[in-house]
């Protein structure tokens, strides 16, 4: 099976879906790039991370729209195009910029169907690059999926590998509900086996990345490969873990997590976002509600601190939870109560 980076897997998904369905359009800042530049070269960028490369030459300016730097208008336009029968894939270059267009996402797109009494569909996909680890500073590094997971009416997708990224994006484009699709910048080069054909990965079904018996570890996005390293290191000592990647946080496959905790009695949750009102709290609360008696030890949440994301590499390294912290947390969850 071909090895593709997550970036190329996403790019392939966009090509295949635009080929399959003429209603699919792509819009955003520099999704092609080059318009109005002095070189005259179109597709000067293909998306700042290269995810939308090749779409303009193949599908033309009618379906691949370079927009001004106007996030509210980009997301609003995607909403309107969807109400009018298209299936837009809008790009917000960095997830941090959601602050600029939050109204269009959570007051408009998320609520149309409900407030119009079920008489509208708004099949929008909003892609955005997120995550720390590349020294991009406080306004280009955040993992804000918890913020949007809290909004009824949105579906939230957060792939951790190339295979899932392609299948989840195709599902997102075919899905009739609005989807926010988070792509971790540090995972774009991460390679994995990706079938050539178009396929979907369903929402609300977690992936069991590792199977074990001692501890349940739940991790999201870049925390999944980090947790893999921690879990694999401990396996050499005979400590084995269930490693669960929810893949989507809305809908969230709580059942798989609860089922695993009922077997292990121990839960470590790894989340790159800050510790308050976040997805780690959400999972911890759910497990405490549904499987309290199964827990042998307190739930441990490994998260970023309650700070903005710093620029200096030394500080950013301290911000992002890494394999050593995850490994330590798993060990801690195995310590007997004294």
């Amino acid at each position: 099976m071909p090895q593709l980076s997550m970036r190329d897997a996403l790019n392939q998904a966009l090509h295949q879906e635009m080929e399959r369905d003429a209603r699919v359009i792509v819009l955003g800042e520099d999704v092609s790039g080059g318009a109005g530049g002095s070189s005259g070269q179109r597709e000067a960028s293909g998306g700042i991370f290269g995810v939308t490369k090749g779409l303009l030459p193949r599908f033309g300016e009618g379906r691949v729209l370079d927009t001004p730097i106007s996030e509210s208008a980009i997301i609003g336009a995607a909403a309107g195009a969807a109400l009018a029968g298209l299936r837009p894939v809008a790009e917000i270059m960095f997830a941090d910029f959601v602050g600029v267009c939050m109204d269009q996402i959570y007051n408009q797109i998320a609520k149309f169907r409900y407030m119009f009494g079920g008489k509208s569909t708004c099949p929008v996909v909003i892609r955005m690059a997120m995550g720390a680890g590349m020294n991009m500073g406080p306004q280009h590094s955040q993992a804000i999926y918890s913020l949007l997971t809290a909004v009824p009416g949105l579906k939230i997708v957060i792939p951790s590998n190339a295979y899932d990224a392609k299948g989840l994006l195709i599902q997102a484009i075919r899905d009739d509900d609005p989807v926010v699709f988070f792509e971790h910048k540090a995972l774009y080069p991460r390679k994995g086996e990706v079938p050539e054909h178009a396929y979907t990965v369903p929402f609300g079904e977690a992936a069991l990345v590792r199977e074990g018996e001692h501890v349940t570890v739940v991790a999201i996005a870049r925390m999944v490969p980090f947790a893999e390293r921690a879990v694999d290191a401990l396996a050499k000592e005979g400590i084995t873990c269930d490693l669960i990647d929810p893949r989507t946080t809305s809908p969230m496959d709580f059942d798989t997590i609860v089922e695993s905790v009922e077997g292990t009695g121990r839960l470590v949750i790894v989340d790159e976002s800050p510790p308050r009102c976040g997805i780690a709290n959400d999972i911890a609360a759910f497990v405490a509600d549904k499987a309290f008696r199964a827990l042998k030890r307190p739930i441990i949440q490994v998260t970023a601190p309650h700070t903005p994301i710093p620029f200096a590499p030394a500080l950013e390294r301290a911000y992002v939870p890494g394999p050593p912290r995850i490994e330590a947390a798993i060990r801690q969850s195995l310590q007997d109560e004294s």
């Binding site: 379906r63 729209l65 208008a73 009018a84 029968g85 109204d103 169907r113 009494g117 569909t121």
Partner: protein, 328 residues
């Protein structure tokens, strides 16, 4: 593409125009009365006084064209063909309201009529209208979108973004700015820094014109020019309609910001229905008796709408959970 002129409108069409404006007026006048009884939940923004704008604009459109409206949206909904009884039920919060009672006065929508919703976020609609116009342009069927907004929304950055993007992408959107002189409780002369929405819109790189919003013929003709341009690939336009509202920002607004006699004076000089009657009478295009008959017919429709809305069932608790997602 040819421009449809108001002078060319025939008797039956003029009667239809009058009926639409009268229907909006009586819908709102009746709501003003019924809201005072306390039977209607929430808060409501009445469109009375601005009818010629909604009707002048929408009479140039078909069901294949899109509009998006504002918190003051009843007039746009009626003008675009939304069912008046379904609307009244919605405003009363009834289960068989046009949005099943889940949207209310500020979210009335009917996608089958190209009505993409009233919108309770000031400035929320114009970007969405640009998106609908992207779909129109891609389909290439000559359909257009209209973004209604007021002088208040004109100061929102979203409107600037939408206007610029419409020009950049050359999509068929018509921005209709209903300048009724007040952004909630603050005068437009204060809140619009340049005091000139037409010039500001033109500065985005599109044609813009200012019309008397109480004059159906003027609105219809300006819209005819903008629609002809948009349908033939000429891109977006703005129409600023100078108008007034006969009631407050919302029902219950004491309107302390308005001179005591202002509304009474404007009800004389800026009443689009009186102006329309005078115009078609002078032109000998429509006999007054036919307009009087419409007045009576419209009042009966509103009576029926209120009676049906009052008698209609409330939603049931299970409805709370439906239509959040199509599949979850």
């Amino acid at each position: 593409m040819s421009v449809m002129s108001s002078e060319a409108l025939e008797r039956t069409r003029l009667l239809h125009v009058y009926r639409q404006m009268k229907l909006i007026r009586e819908f709102e006048e009746r709501l003003h009365v019924e809201i005072a009884t306390g039977e209607i939940p929430g808060f409501t923004h009445l469109y009375a006084g601005q009818e010629a704008v909604a009707v002048g604009v929408c009479e140039q459109l078909s069901d294949a064209d899109y509009i998006i409206s504002t918190h003051r949206g009843h007039g746009h909904c009626i003008a675009k063909g939304c069912d008046v009884i379904g609307m009244m039920k919605e405003i009363y919060g009834r289960r068989d309201g046009i949005c099943n009672g889940k949207g209310g006065s500020m979210h009335i929508a009917d996608l089958s009529k190209g009505m993409l919703g009233a919108n309770a976020i000031v400035g929320g609609g114009p970007p969405i209208a640009v998106g609908a116009a992207i779909a129109c342009k891609l389909r290439g069927d000559g359909s257009v979108s209209v973004a209604f907004g007021g002088d208040g929304s004109a100061n929102q950055g979203t409107v600037f973004e939408a206007m610029n993007m419409a020009v950049v992408l050359q999509v068929p959107t018509i921005f209709v700015l209903e300048n009724n002189g007040y952004s909630e409780h603050t005068g437009a002369d204060y809140a619009v820094g340049s005091r000139d929405l037409t010039a500001r819109s033109r500065a985005f790189g599109m044609p813009a014109e200012c019309v008397d919003g109480a004059d159906f013929h003027a609105v219809f003709d300006a819209m005819g020019r903008a629609v002809a341009r948009a349908r033939s690939g000429g891109g977006p336009s703005t129409i600023e309609a100078r108008i007034t509202r006969f009631y407050g920002h919302f029902e219950g607004d004491p309107q302390n910001y308005r001179a005591k006699d202002e509304v009474a004076r404007l009800r004389e000089s800026m009443d689009c229905l009186k102006r329309f009657r005078a115009r078609v009478d002078a032109d000998r295009r429509v006999p007054a008796a036919e307009l009087d008959a419409i007045d009576a017919e419209v009042l009966a429709v509103i009576d029926r709408a209120v009676a049906e809305a009052r008698a209609a069932p409330a939603p049931v608790e299970a409805d709370l959970y439906t239509d959040v997602y199509i599949h979850y």
